[in-house]
């Protein structure tokens, strides 16, 4: 297939590795957009989830949140934000990505907090720990595997979806594909697709490592199996 040959040629062309639209710059832009979005989502989602999980409320809220968020197309939110004072481009993308990162972060952290053994919490209370100490020293450390699972899910989803920024005049690796379609260059389209897919897979593998590092052996299979089903399609 000639498209493959063209893609190899495109990747090997030094012109495509320099300047504003070079691969390194677009990659950094992609990572920056994703990083800000995930960071902002964590700041919002984690305190809420930990608080609700501690109180034991809102099981229904978190489960309906994931259905509703799955039903809203990313493109819709991207363009709607672009039509508000937020404006188009990277800023609209970051806000939209952060919104979509909240459900997996919230749900996983909430479930993690709820699944902490009630006897352990009671014992901690009996030892005279305050409510805040129970959260900080008992519940959060025990919920860490699922909190990490949620982080991995959210981050992979954000890195994957950040490629759509190019559709609303933003940056990131999606620019290569979008520009390729605009100029009808199959090689460039294919090369962009490979780079985006590679980045997503690398993120997934790296964060799966982080998740394993904070998960004690016994819980691993259970935690990992559950996260995959909770993710939005990228």
């Amino acid at each position: 297939m000639s498209a493959f040959g063209d893609a190899v040629t495109w990747i090997n062309d030094p012109v495509n590795w320099r300047g504003r639209f070079g691969v390194p710059h677009l990659l950094l832009e992609h990572l920056a957009i994703s990083g800000v979005a995930v960071g902002a989502a964590c700041v919002v989602a984690w305190p809420v989830a930990i608080w609700l999980g501690h109180l034991g409320r809102a099981g229904l809220l978190t489960s309906s949140l994931s259905t509703v968020s799955r039903a809203v197309p990313t493109l819709a939110l991207l363009t709607i934000f672009a039509a508000t004072p937020i404006g188009f481009g990277d800023r609209a993308t970051m806000v939209a990505l952060a919104v979509f990162a909240i459900p997996p972060l919230l749900t996983n952290a909430y479930v993690g907090m709820r699944e902490v053994d009630r006897d352990v919490v009671e014992a901690a209370r009996g030892m005279g720990l305050s409510s805040w100490q129970v959260v900080r020293k008992v519940e959060v450390p025990l919920a860490l595997p699922l909190i990490a699972a949620g982080f991995r899910t959210a981050a992979v989803q954000v890195v994957a979806t950040a490629s759509l920024a190019a559709l609303v005049a933003g940056g990131g690796l999606g620019v290569i594909v979008n520009d390729g379609f605009g100029r009808q260059r199959p090689g460039q389209i294919l090369a962009g697709a490979v780079l985006i897919a590679l980045l997503a897979v690398i993120t997934e593998v790296a964060l799966a490592g982080v998740q394993r590092a904070v998960t004690p052996g016994r819980q691993q299979t259970r935690t990992i199996r559950r996260t995959v089903l909770r993710r939005r399609v990228p």
């Binding site: 297939m1 809203v72 197309p73 390729g180 962009g192 897979v201 995959v228 399609v233």
Partner: protein, 229 residues
């Protein structure tokens, strides 16, 4: 395709919703909606047609389960924009590219849920059916499928809702159903009425489809309360 005169300047009214837009562009909106529904039905059905035999294979030959689930997991990591971009040079700028990409994502969700459903059939139930003289085909149809149905339908619901939302990314190959409205609204000086009409219809379609499938599950398996995973 909808052709609208671009707004003159920022002073022009740009409401979030407008009945006159809906009235004037009735045909285009209906055409986009029709493409969206067609693509959803086709991709989910195609996904089911491939996922079901794969799940059966994975269950019968336990060794195949890990590679099938693992490979589909990798597939699920590939972003939709990249997926369509992979397919386009070979399939072309048409609806089929979107259809194949979406069927692949649906497949991943469905294989897992089908497998979970089939594995959830208790061994003693299977043993009892075998003792009553059920062959493997009849057992699948009369015993295993009814028990696995709620978990399988939960997968179909997730796959359908995801597919409806994802079709919008098909704008990259010019076949995004309601996404075409959203994208054209964006390119038309952020014409809000067009963006919102497309988005609202898209979310409504997803929720209606989810509700319908929940109803179907209740009719087919009245003994179980519907579950979502």
């Amino acid at each position: 395709m909808i052709l609208l005169a671009p707004l003159a300047d920022d002073e022009a009214p740009n409401p979030w919703f407008s009945w006159s837009f809906v009235r004037d562009n009735n045909d285009a909106i209906l055409a986009a909606l029709r493409q969206h529904v067609t693509l959803t039905v086709e991709s989910v059905l195609l996904g089911i047609a491939v996922a079901f035999p794969l799940a059966l294979l994975a269950r019968r030959y336990g060794k195949l389960a890990t590679p099938i689930v693992g490979l589909s997991g990798v597939l699920y990591t590939i972003p939709s924009l990249a997926m369509f971009a992979f397919l386009e040079p070979f399939v072309g700028l048409n609806q089929t590219t979107v259809l194949i990409g979406l069927a692949l994502y649906a497949l991943v969700i469905l294989v897992r849920n089908f497998l979970v459903g089939l594995q959830g059939v208790p061994e003693d139930v299977r043993e009892a059916a075998r003792g009553m003289g059920y062959g493997s085909g009849r057992m699948l149809w009369r015993v295993e499928l009814p028990i696995a149905l709620p978990a399988m339908m939960a997968g179909v619901r997730i796959a359908t809702v995801s597919t409806v939302a994802l079709i919008t990314v098909g704008v990259i190959v010019g076949n995004g159903g309601l996404g075409q409205l959203i994208f054209e609204g964006f390119n038309n000086n952020f014409y809000r009425a067009e963006i919102v009409t497309g988005s609202v219809l898209c979310v409504a379609l997803a929720l209606v489809a989810d509700g319908l499938l929940a109803g179907v599950t209740r009719v087919l398996a009245p003994w179980s309360r519907s579950r979502t995973s």
